[in-house]
Amino acid sequence: MVSTFAGGKHIESHKQLSRDAAIEPIPLPVEVVIPLSQHTGTICEPLVKKGDRVLTGTKIGQSSNVLSSCVHASISGTVRGIELCPHPVLGQCLAVIIDSDGRDEHDAAIQPRKAAERLSKEELLAIIKEAGIVGMGGAAFPSQVKLNPPKPVDTLIINGVECEPYLTCDFRLMLEKANEILQGIGLLKKTVNVSKVFIGIEEDKPEALRMMRNKIMEKHYPFTVSPLTAKYPQGAEKQLIKAVINREVPPGKLPFDAGVIVSNVGTACAVYEAVFLGKPLYERVVTVTGATVKKPANLNVRIGTRFGDLIRYCQGTTGAAGKIIMGGPMMGLAQFSEDVPVIKGTSGILVLSEAEARQEGEHPCIRCGRCVDVCPMGMIPSALSLCVESGRLDLSSRYNPRDCIECGACTYICPAKRRIVESIRLVKAVMK
């Protein structure tokens, strides 16, 4: 049985560009730029200073605040400085710049852990916190906070949907690291102490579905694989919960209010590596793709590698790049420079040509209702767009702008090319 949610829209996936490219490691970068804020929450205090020698996996930043996540050096070398650097989300952020010594010496703390199965919930949370693990789907919410909900939950849903067009890193991860993911899920299950575990995967990824099912059968894991309709935004937390266990998270509430924790497959894999191998989160899989990229690929990349280095590793682009996007085309962030570094939440780098990046101007709303049809949250997006256009922000609150998950389906579908999500973001910002 294939399940889904109301609304949404199937969008041309473009995943064929990189879905068959196996994950490959790239040569060590000569320098890395490691922003001290790669997560939702407080920025880290640097633990190193200019001239210090660091090893791969050395902790270089942490914060005493609960909602934060520590950062680690991703190569061995010397700290060149701590300066304001371009940041893919914040625009600018304090970052530790490390010059590589080319040796990639690992920190002594990175040791395979024995008897990992017998760790308690608290020990697991501490390991996850020390490893600096955040949600790998893009929002980068600190995992130790998410996995320790203030009220009891009964279900864990693993997000292997990857509904964003173009991106294939989670798909490749499920094919190539199925065992690691499943062991990681086992650890997550233990950490949040739930009985039911579901793995949601879109049915347009039959290889991943088959792989996960086979491995679960082989090892008798108590997990259920839920095939889902290939429809955007199937991977959004609330829509995923609705599709998999038919529960709705009430407006303004978080998944744990519905008794659910949702975690990404990449996060499960990172948790496995942190617990069993003792390895902090200093590298991740990044999809570099786009019609103009000469050799789209899924790369295993050290955090802090600049976007430009990855694009060049993929043999560059045919013609000039019009737009470089971190993440997928629907919710990703357009970048202003190739110099921004890969951070923990970078699932992909999408390069659009100048022609693809060109956008038509806005036209008047013709009230066709397409946005109402596709809105997965049951909103009336066009009304909010009209509120902004007519300068009547005071009317916007009756259309529940806070419900918006900014998935962009309304803006994608709009025949008048209106910037609906942007308007809703403005409304949200002003309402704050």
């Binding site: 609330k238 407006p251 085309p329 970048q335 013709i366 709009c414």
Partner: protein
């Protein structure tokens, strides 16, 4: 920080891709889907019809251009909405209409029906129907002088609905003409008197079918509209209850044209699916009442205009269910 500056990248907020649908594509597709009906009309009523269509379209586009100039807006001629309004107006006048009247109707449709409200997207009423109702009120004689099929010399003949009304209301002015002269086949193929575009049900359905396949229109408004008219006239349209000739009611007059092409107008109809069904049912009931007991033999245009006026109210209350909220 390296200092090299590549060509400036574009930064916009997400989403970064857009669907290929555009307003003008939708408008022009609807326009093309209406062409078969016009061709049948030219075949049945002669080449005069072509003149009417061209006049209406030209007048609509010219008015749109002038209004945009006066209101200092960027001209919106190429989006096809004015062309479509002109075509729909032409489809809503009798085949023998004088060209000056058609021109005036088109002018009113765009200027009064659309531009004064603020242009595309802001109008409350379907512009083409505003034009038609204006003509009906101003030139009732010209607007009800029907031409018999294949009679180029403009022999007038009543429409099937007029004949039905005559018999139903018992006025018997048209005694001698008989409904029997029209078979359902004739009605379906358009071999009868009526407005330019409403005649050939087959041609209209072909276009509507394509629009449905492209998902430009959905079944909600047309089905609920036509269904309601059918049920309503079946119950009340005969001698006694449940004896009405609903097939006659569905195939004649402007019902098919109105239900598929004018009630489904995005701008003036409700946005949600439940709202659209309510809209269709409302249109159907009003059409039925006008046809059976009203002053005119035909009520489609009035029903759509009346429901257009109710649309903001429907949109206000027929809202989609908020995600996560109790049913």
């Amino acid at each position: 920080m390296t200092e090299k500056q590549p060509a400036p990248l574009t930064v916009t907020s997400s989403p970064h891709i857009r669907s290929p649908e555009t307003t003008s594509k939708i408008m022009w597709t609807v326009f093309v889907c209406l062409i078969p009906s016009g061709l049948v009309s030219v075949y049945v009523f002669g080449f005069g019809v072509l003149g009417i269509i061209l006049t209406a379209v030209f007048a609509a586009v010219a008015t749109e251009w002038a209004c945009c100039r006066i209101q200092r807006k960027t001209p919106t001629i190429m989006d096809g909405s004015a062309v479509l309004t002109g075509l729909l107006l032409a489809y809503n006048v009798p085949p023998g209409s004088p060209l000056w009247m058609v021109f005036l109707g088109s002018f009113i449709a765009i200027a009064v029906g659309k531009a004064v409200f603020g242009g595309l997207g802001c109008n409350v009423f379907n512009p083409a129907l505003v034009g038609r109702v204006f003509l009906m009120a101003s030139f009732p004689v010209l607007m009800t002088r029907w031409q018999a099929p294949f009679k180029v010399d403009a022999v007038t003949a009543p429409t099937p609905l007029a004949i039905f009304k005559d018999g139903f209301s018992g006025t018997n002015v048209l005694a001698g003409t008989d409904l029997v002269q029209y078979s359902y086949r004739d009605l379906f193929l358009g071999l009868r008197g009526g407005c330019i575009g409403e005649a050939c049900v087959l041609a209209l359905l072909l276009g509507a079918g394509y629009l449905m396949i492209r998902k430009y229109i959905t079944w909600h408004i047309p089905l609920s509209f036509i269904g309601t008219v059918g049920v309503f006239t079946w119950i009340f349209g005969g001698k006694g209850l449940f004896g009405g000739d609903f097939l006659l009611q569905i195939f004649s007059g402007g019902l098919i044209l109105g239900a598929f092409y004018m009630a489904t107008d995005y701008v003036t109809g409700p946005m949600t699916r439940q709202g659209q069904i309510l809209f269709g049912i409302g249109c159907g009931i009003i059409t039925g009442i006008v046809r059976l007991w009203g002053g005119y033999p035909e009520g489609v245009s009035y029903s759509i205009l009346l429901m257009n006026a109710v649309t903001p109210l429907i949109d206000r209350f027929m809202v989609p269910r908020r995600f996560g909220e109790e049913r």
